[in-house]
């Protein structure tokens, strides 16, 4: 049911039955390393190209998800997934081998929450009983597509972010499942916000206004205060983006500084060189939520979280043509039942 301006209340509160995360070497070495299910120290994952490697990271995460629940591919009704590559080839080639009906999504780095939203709506409407939401990204394939060749010797400005290598996957089921697990209560799909930022090396600044818009709309629509949540988790705003988001909220009279956390800031040790402003990419929210925050929810260290993944919807072509970066943020409230 739609409440307020753009939020949907999920009456039947779909459950997130299980999650699974696969990550690359830099992420495994990061502060959250111990939480990820699959850690692969080879960015190629034994494949010939980075694009194939990215597909394999996704395959590993999904296979592991099914293995954890002792399920087969044909038990799954639908899968919602996406990535950053042109025509979403990482997801496409991964799911080619899975034999599951597939919806390919592109929401840039917001894709994971977009998948969660659509999967939970499917479950809520009774169109399926087991739906997977997933998203992947890969540092090397993303650098190739959006920036410079890897071997090119260039410096990155401190506002630049580093794409997370990996994938996260979650299985959503109807409320009738016995197991006591976190549920999705409200979802707020975002609007596109563009404040005219053109610098590809400052995505945090481009995406923060979108996160701000969605968070404020969500809080208004649900008549909740930021303190209602144990954590408001953004995907990949990084250091600058986080500061800007908190500032924007303050200007609007809402203080989220006490509950706000950012996956991009937490996934890497930012004191190390080259980490600059933190992680980004679809896999940033996907792997950190699936690996870390879901565990925290399950073990009741957190009980109510709002996940807000932000995406920058530009392409190298639009940047070349001098366009600014349109951004979007999708939010989903995930809570433990009392």
């Amino acid at each position: 049911m739609k409440i307020g301006k753009q939020t949907l209340k999920l009456e039947s509160t779909p459950k997130i039955l299980e999650t699974s995360a696969a990550v690359g070497p830099k992420e495994s070495d990061g502060p959250l390393g111990i939480y990820f299910d699959i850690k692969c120290s080879d960015v190629f994952y034994g494949e010939k190209t980075f694009e194939k490697a990215e597909s394999k990271y996704m395959k590993a995460a999904i296979d592991n998800l099914l293995y954890k629940l002792n399920l087969q591919n044909d038990n799954i009704d639908y899968i919602f997934a996406g990535d950053l590559l042109n025509q979403c080839i990482a997801s496409g080639y991964c799911i080619r081998d899975l034999n599951i009906p597939f919806f390919g999504l592109y929401g840039a780095c917001s894709t994971f929450v977009e998948s969660i939203i659509l999967s939970s709506l499917f479950i809520n409407a009774g169109y399926g009983t087991k739906v997977i939401a997933s998203a992947s990204s890969h540092f090397c394939s993303a650098e190739r597509q959006f920036r410079m060749p890897l071997e090119h010797g260039n410096q990155k400005p401190p506002t630049a972010q580093s794409t997370v290598t990996g994938c996260g996957a979650a299985l959503l089921v109807p409320h009738t499942f016995e197991k006591k697990v976190p549920v999705v209560t409200y979802v707020t799909p975002g609007k596109i916000v563009d404040m005219g930022i053109k610098d590809m090396n400052n995505m945090g600044a481009a995406m923060a206004p979108a996160a701000f818009d969605t968070i404020i709309t969500h809080l208004k629509d649900t008549e909740r205060k930021p303190e209602y949540y144990d954590a408001i988790i953004t995907g990949d705003l990084g250091v600058e983006g986080t500061d800007i988001l908190i500032d924007l909220c303050k200007d609007y009279g809402v203080d989220i500084s006490k509950v706000h956390r950012d996956c991009g800031k937490e996934i890497y040790d930012l004191t190390k060189r080259d980490m600059n402003a933190g992680g980004s990419g679809c896999a940033c929210m996907a792997s950190v939520f699936s690996g870390y925050f879901y565990q925290e929810l399950k073990e009741k260290r957190l009980n109510r979280v709002l996940i807000v993944a932000t995406g920058a919807l530009m392409s190298p072509i639009s940047i070349g043509q001098g366009e600014s970066i349109p951004s979007i943020a999708h939010a989903a409230a995930i809570e433990n039942e009392v």
Partner: protein, 153 residues
Amino acid sequence: MENDKIKMTVKEYSEYVESKSAKSPIIKNIFLAFISGGLICVIGQIITNLCINYGIESKDAIIISTISLIFLGAFLTAVNLYSKIGKYAGAGSVVPITGFSNSIVAPAIEYKSEGFVLGLGANMFKIAGPVLVYGILTSVIVGFVYWLMLLVR
């Protein structure tokens, strides 16, 4: 393009972002660029001088030194060292001829996966191509102007 909840215009927002974002450590960067760029040039001079010592004409010596530096840039790129140096050296490793070499080898390595003709071959000059285009174009203009001057004289 403005947002109804944000009390800033696009221009104000970009100024605000500018004030907020971390700046590159420019003094340190210039220092490192100076040292590394200077060193690469010194290596070039050493090679030139060696050639001259062996009785090679100075014009050819400079060509040999250029070729050697291009080889060095290509080699360091192939063993994954040039990008590591570049992180510290910045313009110090971009501006010298070794950086030109690096900008040719880097896409060549990367696009090999799309085949030898349309991958490696077509993308080799992805970054360095403009250098040739604008360098040669300007030289043609200079040549033309010089030719006109000779005519008039």
